[in-house]
């Protein structure tokens, strides 16, 4: 019996080891980028323009470019995703139409980001003639993060208990009044979680904007939605692989990687924290 116990303990420790090796790997990536990236970051780096094709200077246009793209994306994707979720949870019946919508959402969630890039290139850049621009990039990214927002919003709507709706309907409110005044306000924080996760994904993606929006170097900041932009992930990609002196400008690369990483992880953490707080606040 004792022998069996020790054997069991060993297996537990092995499993623990395997699990924590993944954790260690993550920690190693984060620390490596943090340690090498921090010295590169300065006020000048964050607010300056790139000089000598990115070998010196700052990354302000790339930060702003990512910001513009993300804002454009969320402005399009959030309302559409929310309304779509309201339709699915509150209006649709269990019929083939609803089934095919769900099938489409699953399909959309599985499409590789580079295929979204091809699609955006074909539809927005060429056919609609937006050119490589903030508009084309944002619309492409919006299509990509739509499933994330729909799924999170649906979950938020479903967690509002049925009696909230029944009470309101019994008092004579219409269906839309009920949803608008008695369901949406309680579902909103949960929906925002999805929105933040979507933003995080959009900010870190490179492949779609490679084909629809990004430029490596622009002398001026964009002035309209039809302009090309620089973006953090694309900037990092070029510095690390295409730059003639890629080996010599490691600090610039690490600095850019750290800014991007902090942005994306910060957003994801915000979403996780918000989710925990929402769950604690509304215990029905």
């Amino acid at each position: 019996m004792n022998k069996k116990r020790t054997g069991e303990k060993i297996i537990y420790w092995l499993m623990r080891g395997v699990t924590y090796s993944v954790v260690l790997f993550i920690a190693y990536i984060l620390l490596d980028i943090l340690i090498h990236g921090l010295p590169a970051i300065s006020w000048n780096f964050l607010t300056g323009f790139p000089e000598k094709s990115g070998a010196e200077g700052g990354i302000l246009p790339a930060i702003l470019g990512t910001l513009y793209l993300v804002i454009g994306t969320i402005v399009v994707a959030l309302p559409l995703g929310m309304f779509s979720a309201v339709y699915l949870t509150e209006y649709s019946k269990q019929n083939r139409f609803a089934q095919s919508i769900r099938m489409a959402i699953v399909t959309l969630a599985g499409i590789p980001s580079i295929v979204f890039g091809l699609f955006g290139l074909g539809l927005f850049v060429i056919t609609l003639n937006f050119g490589s621009s903030i508009l084309a990039g944002s619309l492409t990214l919006a299509c990509m993060i739509l499933p994330t927002i729909i799924v999170a919003s649906e979950e938020a709507l479903k967690s509002v208990p049925k009696y909230m709706r029944e009470g309101s309907l019994a008092l004579g409110a219409t269906k839309w009044e009920t949803i608008y005044k008695n369901v949406l306000p309680y579902a909103l924080p949960g929906m925002l979680t999805g929105a933040i996760l979507g933003i995080g994904r959009a900010a870190g993606e490179t492949a779609p904007i490679l084909l629809t929006a990004a430029a490596f170097f622009l002398p001026d900041l964009p002035t309209s939605v039809f302009d090309q932009v620089m973006a953090l992930p694309y900037h990092l990609y070029i510095l690390a692989t295409q730059h003639p002196e890629a080996q010599k400008i490691l600090p610039m690369q690490y600095g850019t990687a750290l800014v991007l990483l902090l942005l994306v992880i910060g957003l994801n953490m915000a979403a996780i924290i918000l989710r925990i707080r929402v769950r604690k606040k509304y215990k029905w």
Binding site: K4, G7, E8, Y12, M15, R16, V18, T19, S21, V22, V23, F25, I26, I29, D32, I33, F83, S84, V86, Y91, Q94, A104, V106, T107, L108, G110, I111, P112, S113, I114, V115, G117, L118, F119, G122, L123, C143, L146, P147, T174, K175, W176, G200, A203, G204, E205, T206, A207, L210, L211, P233, L236, Y237, T241, Q253, A257, L260, N268, M269, I272
Partner: protein, 293 residues
């Protein structure tokens, strides 16, 4: 009253059209991939896609054989899956059956962070840290190999495999566990001989979803696999995947050329592969009640 009815109807139709947007986008994606790819059929002909050489820019003879790109993707994906499976599944079992509640609360968000690291950052890390390591350990000329890409992609698949396998393990009825323990089986025996087999379909689905993610991954793989479009099943050679080909070459093609159209064919093949992987795993998960209908 009729005015109110009208309003209700307008709202319903508005929401319905928002709801159907997902369907429209999926259809548009198929439509535009084929629209841009179609000219390739008349010139230089669809048979060209089945050749075994990818050499789209050449003065003598342009070749658009997809085979090296497909084998590149398959090789990297299979390797990555092989690496990810033990970590993903053992991790899921550990988190759901062995770890204490507190441990779980720390581990899960941490793994979620891994899922959130942008692939270009992972690729950068691979280029600077993992590639030299692979080069030294195996004594190669270059660290930019299929294996390097697979290691990085494995870490992109692990969060997917872990979280969905964990759901599958959690959905095993507790009576299975109790019955096994009551019959005198130890906890380890119960885990590996009762719980994991009962959750197996969900675990398989999670692996397939992870594979879907790996096949479609672009930036990390483009930065570390060396970008050599050759047919090879040796993990220590440089390869080029379908995703990397599109991303690397689309910037330099002339719109409307055969090369341009051929890249859309690459996109179509890629889309179909991920579509099948996702569809099958979705069906499995739905059948076992792990997705709401």
């Amino acid at each position: 009253m009729t005015k109110q009815r009208l309003k209700a109807r307008i709202i319903k139709y508005f929401l319905q059209s928002c709801g159907s947007l997902s369907i429209i986008i999926v259809l548009l994606i198929f439509l535009f991939l084929f629209k841009e790819a179609l000219p390739f059929i008349s010139e230089p002909g669809i048979g060209g896609l089945f050749h075994s050489v990818w050499n789209p820019v050449s003065f003598q003879k342009e070749e658009f054989g997809l085979l090296p790109l497909i084998t590149g993707s398959v090789l990297v994906t299979l390797l990555a899956t092989l690496i990810a499976i033990p970590f993903g599944i053992i991790g899921a079992v550990y988190i759901s059956e062995v770890a204490t509640a507190k441990e779980r609360e720390v581990l899960k968000p941490f793994i979620e962070i891994l899922a959130g690291i942008p692939s270009v950052v992972l690729g950068f890390f691979g280029l600077i840290v993992v590639a030299p390591l692979v080069k030294d350990i195996f004594g190669l000329n270059t660290g930019l190999t299929a294996l390097t890409g697979a290691v990085l992609l494995a870490f992109m698949a692990i969060p997917t495999i872990m979280s969905i396998s964990e759901d599958a393990i959690k959905s095993v009825p507790i009576i299975y566990k109790e019955a096994s323990l009551a019959l005198g089986a130890s906890r380890i025996e119960t885990i590996w001989k009762v719980i994991v087999p009962a959750a197996l379909s969900g675990i398989v689905a999670s692996v397939m979803l992870g594979m879907g993610r790996v096949v479609g991954e672009t930036m990390a793989v483009m930065m570390v696999t060396g970008n050599a479009p050759v047919v090879s099943f040796n993990p220590f050679t440089s390869v080029r995947t379908m995703t990397a080909t599109i991303a690397a070459e689309m910037g330099e093609v002339t719109f409307g050329s055969s090369h341009y159209a051929s890249l859309f064919w690459v996109g179509i093949v890629l889309m179909l592969m991920t579509f099948v992987l996702n569809l099958v795993s979705y069906r499995v998960l739905k059948k076992y009640g792990m997705i709401d209908k």
